[in-house]
Symmetry: C2
Subunit: 393 residues, 2 copies
């Protein structure tokens, strides 16, 4: 038995693979960190909603659960993966729009402070949103230079002028796993708020947002939460920050939407961060994945994630000696993907995809292997790394 086969054999979560739809021409799917697979149950879940809810209940559905669905699923997410008590998480919009709303809200909560802190390696949307807001509000961006974002490096740039620090929990390219509680404490010591982007960690790296004193967080649901292409994002706003006001004042974030009255008054609680009508259908697929993660337990998911990335690194060391590991070797500093750099990688990508080996490419020269613990097998990792090595040689 190969090492991969014995690892799969011993995997306590191996039975979950059967919960995910398989693709006939894909032998190794290593891009679950860009788009998770659908569950076998997802198509039926959507069809059942159309027939039994939308079609059968029609407009009545809004008062029979749909209107609360963003908070219902938000609370599920908070319990299963975020370490967030109910009433602090909502589903909707896109990560970009939620970033905009929460950054704007946070700035207003720190009047007189003139600086926003972000790192050069952060995901483009995070940087672009902050650049736009800084320009419109006359604020200064303080950039943390490229590289792993540690508490010490954050401490060098935050100060009495810092309104808000915006960082990613897991870096989209390197997979570096930031010290959320440590960095949050550093920012708070300077009187700043912190907004964590959890896009690349939610569902695979446990967080304790409440216990860590996180102020704000956003993330997407189409990666490790398997919500489907472009599924709505989520926002976490700690109860202590729920007096903030966001700038996109819509009727469903108002205190009394169905009064249709004059003058916007924000709702109490997390609902004030909602703007338009909640994207009900788009929210449904993630529910199945939240159920699976809860059944497996987020700590077991994390353990499998670590084992998968360890195995990928071991294989890369052995089979791809000319590639450079652009991700941390220490599991405690790593999310659920690794990136390998090699100047030959760009050229081999089309051939890999044609073979049904599906990693991701990130400029200028990185192959990113994203492992989604409940759906990715050790055998897929082995197939993938061997195929990359074969293509390169």
């Amino acid at each position: 038995m190969s090492l991969a086969a014995s690892l799969d054999d011993a995997d306590p979560l191996g039975a979950y693979h059967a919960e995910f739809a398989q693709s006939a021409d894909v032998t190794a799917y290593l891009d679950g960190n860009s788009l998770g697979r659908p569950l076998v149950s997802t198509a039926g879940r959507l069809a059942a909603f159309v027939d039994e809810q939308w079609g059968a209940r029609l407009i009545r559905g809004w008062t029979e659960g749909w209107l609360d669905l963003a908070e219902t699923i938000g609370d599920d997410l908070g319990r299963v993966a975020l370490g967030a008590a109910p009433g602090q998480t909502t589903i909707g919009d896109s990560t970009t729009v939620l970033l905009y709303k929460l950054v704007r809200a946070a700035i207003d909560a720190r009047p007189g402070r003139t600086e926003l802190v972000i790192d050069r390696d952060n995901f483009p949307t995070d940087r672009y949103v902050l650049e736009g807001i800084a320009a419109e509000r006359g604020l200064t961006l303080r950039w943390i230079a490229a590289g792993d974002v540690t508490a010490d490096r954050v401490a060098e740039v935050v100060g009495p002028d810092t309104a808000l620090v915006v960082l990613s929990h897991v870096a989209y390219r390197s997979g570096y796993l930031a010290d959320v509680p440590g960095i949050t404490a550093v920012a708070h010591a300077a009187g700043a708020l912190v907004l964590w982007d959890l896009c690349h960690s939610v569902g695979v790296v446990p967080t304790e947002l409440d216990a860590w004193g996180v102020d704000l967080a956003v993330g997407c649901t189409y990666k490790y939460l398997n919500g489907g292409p472009g599924s709505p994002a989520f926002a976490y706003v700690a109860r202590s920050q729920q007096s903030l006001r966001q700038p996109i004042q819509g009727w469903l974030g108002s205190a009394t939407p169905f009064e249709m009255g004059q003058g916007y008054e924000p709702a109490e609680g997390i609902r004030r961060f909602v703007s338009g009508t909640p994207p009900v259908i788009g929210m449904l697929p993630m529910r199945g994945m939240l159920e699976l993660i809860e059944r497996a337990g987020i700590d077991a998911v994390r353990a499998k994630s670590v084992a998968l990335t360890e195995y990928a690194i071991t294989l890369a060391d052995e089979l791809l000696p000319s590639a450079v590991l652009a991700s941390p070797r220490e599991a405690a500093s790593r999310g659920s993907h690794i990136t390998l750099d090699h100047d030959g990688f760009r050229a081999i990508m089309p051939g890999l995809w044609q073979q049904g080996i599906i990693p991701d490419f990130r400029t200028p020269n990185g192959i990113r292997l994203g492992m989604s613990p409940l759906s990715t097998s050790f055998a897929e990792v082995e197939l993938g790394v061997r195929a990359i090595a074969a293509a390169l040689s």
Copy 2:
């Protein structure tokens, strides 16, 4: 044969009723202007996408059509219902978020102008968004008082300080149908831009956005486009206005998203109005309805809509003499719903819903009857008005 039965019998679009899912306990669905019925094909369309696209193609789907889907469907919508040439319409976000983005963009395009014009009867989200932006930018809101919004009344408030006029094509409560070309010309004569909210007209009232010189428009897709609860909205930005910049700078609105580079540069064309990842699954149900409208022809849809509202008014005059018609009697000034006011209406709503008669209630005392021409029969209208009359007596 009753009048309703003979009208249904002679209805050239009657065959379309069979395209829509029916609800076992609903005998008269008169709220298609809040949430359209699903098509019979919708559940299968979603399930097929999950199996054949998302599940089978996985991340490869983004380069096989998903990334362009917002513009593909936007162009379909433009052709079928908006009178918009390709490259000016995109699907995404919510109406509220798109309003925010386009209002902000328009203000920046009219520097030095200090006023925004809107009417008191406009839908809450439109008013709330403008109130928020006016406060943040130090602008003045010029209110058109409650009542039908005519070109003459707009002319009274626009002037050299007007940056933007924001109005609804069809009023959400009264159903009043505004003179888009006339009002647009009035605004333009004052040097202002115009943003039309098409939520209550798109798919039932033909528009000629290009020919009318409209600058900007938004609308939702869950009413007469049958996109499902919370389906994404659309934005139209005339080619002449595509140098505008919107404030929510996300990676998918940037010129080169997959370069992941430093510094946001907006994409050329309509794509610069995109922020985050397009809501692919949420966009799918409306495709079926766009196909039906195209097959029927938007002018035929409008003709049926007029016949349905005429019939509803005739019945109300006869059966509900104590109710007040809060909608225009002239078909040319009316969208696809009518509102009747009566102080007894609030009390009878629960009973109507229990009988499977589903109109909508709008504060303080209005019952709104929304007719969706391809799915609503004259018999449903008769059943609905007779049930209201019976409940009231």
